[in-house]
Symmetry: none
Subunit: 412 residues, 2 copies
């Protein structure tokens, strides 16, 4: 079972947009046991699209196409697919209802060019776009499947997850594939690989291990493939248990778990509340926590005290303490956590203070130096970290690390 | 002058690595006036590489290849290029000296497999790799140029900048290309296209327009190409001025401008300060602002008052007002902006209050309903928006919209 991905859009060819869709789709297809043979990015050009479709279908059984479905004139994928399949556009009432309800929810009238988005090639099966106006399309011809989706990442992703991947599972007899992703925090990729090297070497040949690092987090993905579903599932489960014994302090969750959601569930179950006092993380911890629906039931808010004046005036940190130790210090971050806990009247509090960079570093406190404190009813503790020299990554790492410190404190 | 990019590596096809090289190379080639017709990602597979080279050279004059030049057995690009050009590997003394000096600087001896990296196809011109062991290669055959480089981004980039791009400039007489991206906020793609339809139709044929939407923002990209550099630059400038007159209220910047950086510069130049009071945006505005290096000189911080109790206790919003109007109301958001301005003692304040979803909506205030207020020395104003039903996008749209309201207020 071979697939090819075709991404269409001038913005890809002039390098204005990095094609992140292809990697995501390739991952998803791989998880189903479908090999991606080629990823091709081309411009919104009729004859080039037609030639690429011919080439791809000579090599692959499944052709996934994204992009070029917008309402404006520069988007020509739909017209070109009609030409490829020798068919015409027909108005689809159901797709139009979807466009109407989308506009209605925005308090707007459907414009003519958006109405035209309800027109789809006669030979395709429409795929509902639950968060946009361009329908997806599923074609079958000469034993090959063609799928066309919008290039907007979140529209494409919901379409893949809700429609395309389930349809592919049903249509093809694919080898059984089982994945388990073990999420770790607080240890780098190379140190992790040293600890688990012996275990990795002893893995059965039908299980593969991949390291997937991102700022502050290393995900370990186990992939097993084969015919015997039970055997595969049991072995993945067994290996995950072994790994858990090897690195218990670093595992915080599995698969799609998010630290902020794990913490949310812990707090909700315990009927406890949380607040944050953020200096170097500048509101990013609050943003992560409030990204979770329903977070208002346990999260009261944050004081982003970027200026020292705000730390002393609103968070009541002694000015003298800031002058004596610097804002990036154990003393200040501990007081920040204790004071925000009292001020917001919550069970748990997180505080951060660090030098995100690129400026502000010194010999003693280089860029990346970060103090994180956690306060609860039994008191407060703080830990110092030295991250890197990249501002964006320092903010991410500090936030993820702070959330994991809180998680450990709650479950202790 | 047409180019194609071929990126080689299994990691791209399983989606483990996002191909960021292609976008960067495409940008660089575009700036030289070289059109990239296709970007193709394939695995480390001999026959697939050979076929892709044949196909690419049937369409393009320049073929840029990255990846597959590592010292291990899975990297087969060099061998396969020998096959394609019907030539052999020969040992290159100069490339070996480079490898030796690299190992010496690391205090290491050159290993046998690294020594083999000094072998290059007999028909190529070697390109020095100043930060790695794999040489680049420049081939010419039947009037086409082929360039092979390592896939490691920083090795590829230095090779492009120091060798490949200068060589291309000398070798070809290239057409001049000019891009201008106009950044708009506060209007959807389809409404925008209706306003500028007449202008778009009258654009000279050598200028192309593309719509690039993202949450809360639509970017309009003008691309002009031709021989007369002055004429093209002037026409792009003129068309940008015309567009500015058509949609003055929606344009906030150009090219790589960020709203939070634009605001930062305005505040810095005016020696003014800013604070935010965020409910529905949950710290995302603070996160955007503090993502800009040096933002501590004008941004004092944020009160993320997620719980109503925090709004009344710390931001001193009358409880009765919240009960009477609801937290998502003009009255409350205005008072939030005024009070945070006074509390933080700043020149400007932003306040947000809305229903991000998925829960919490009512008939009168559906999910997506958002009030945004801006306060300054002359008072306060608030505007109501109805975004969509996606929590993540609502947070993004509300934050971007709030930043743009502030920008307009500052420049007024």
């Amino acid at each position: 079972m071979k697939a090819e991905i075709i991404t269409i859009g001038d913005e890809l060819l002039i390098g204005q947009v990095i094609d992140t869709n292809s990697a995501w789709m390739a991952q998803q297809l791989n998880l189903l046991g479908i090999d991606v043979k080629q990823i091709t990015s081309i411009s919104d050009d009729r004859s080039h699209i037609l030639n690429t479709l011919v080439d791809a279908s000579s090599r692959a059984d499944l052709i996934i196409i994204t992009g070029g479905l917008g309402p404006t004139n520069d988007d020509i994928t739909k017209k070109t697919l009609c030409e490829y399949f020798n068919t015409n556009l027909v108005f689809n009432e159901l797709m139009y209802l979807n466009i109407q309800s989308l506009f209605k929810s925005l308090g707007l009238q459907v414009t003519e060019i958006n109405k035209a988005q309800a027109e789809i090639p006669e030979n395709c099966e429409p795929i509902l776009n639950s968060c946009g106006t361009a329908p997806g399309m599923w074609f079958e011809q000469n034993g090959k499947v063609y799928v066309s989706m919008p290039g907007v990442p979140f529209e494409m992703k919901q379409m893949m997850e809700n429609s395309i991947l389930p349809k592919l599972k049903i249509k093809y007899h694919l080898e059984f594939v089982c994945h388990k992703t073990i999420l770790t925090q607080g240890i780098g990729e190379s140190f992790l690989s040293e600890i688990i090297a012996g275990w990795e070497k002893e893995l059965p040949t039908f299980i593969k291990l991949a390291y997937l690092p991102s700022p502050g987090i290393v995900r370990l993905r186990l992939t097993a493939k084969g015919i015997d579903e039970m055997k595969i599932k049991n072995e993945i489960k067994r290996q995950t248990e072994v790994l858990k014994l090897l690195i218990p302090d670093y595992i915080y969750g599995y698969d799609h778990d998010k630290l902020e959601a794990i913490i949310g569930n812990l707090l909700k179950n315990n009927k406890q509340t949380l607040a944050t006092a953020e200096s170097c993380t500048g509101g990013y911890i609050a943003h992560l926590i409030t990204g979770i629906p329903g977070s208002s039931s346990y999260y009261k808010g944050s004081l982003v005290c970027y200026a020292n004046e705000i730390k002393s005036k609103l968070l009541h940190i002694d000015e003298e303490r800031i002058i004596r130790n610097g804002a990036v210090s154990e003393e200040v971050v501990q007081q920040m956590a204790l004071n925000i806990k009292n001020l917001f009247n919550v069970d748990y509090a997180i505080a951060t203070s660090g030098i995100a960079g690129p400026d502000g570093g010194t010999e003693v406190k280089p860029v990346g130096t970060t103090w994180i404190a956690i306060a609860d009813k039994s008191g407060v503790f703080a830990k110092k970290f030295t991250f890197g020299d990249n501002r964006e990554r320092n903010i991410q790492k500090a936030s993820i690390t702070a959330l994991n410190l809180l998680r450990k404190r709650i479950i202790d």
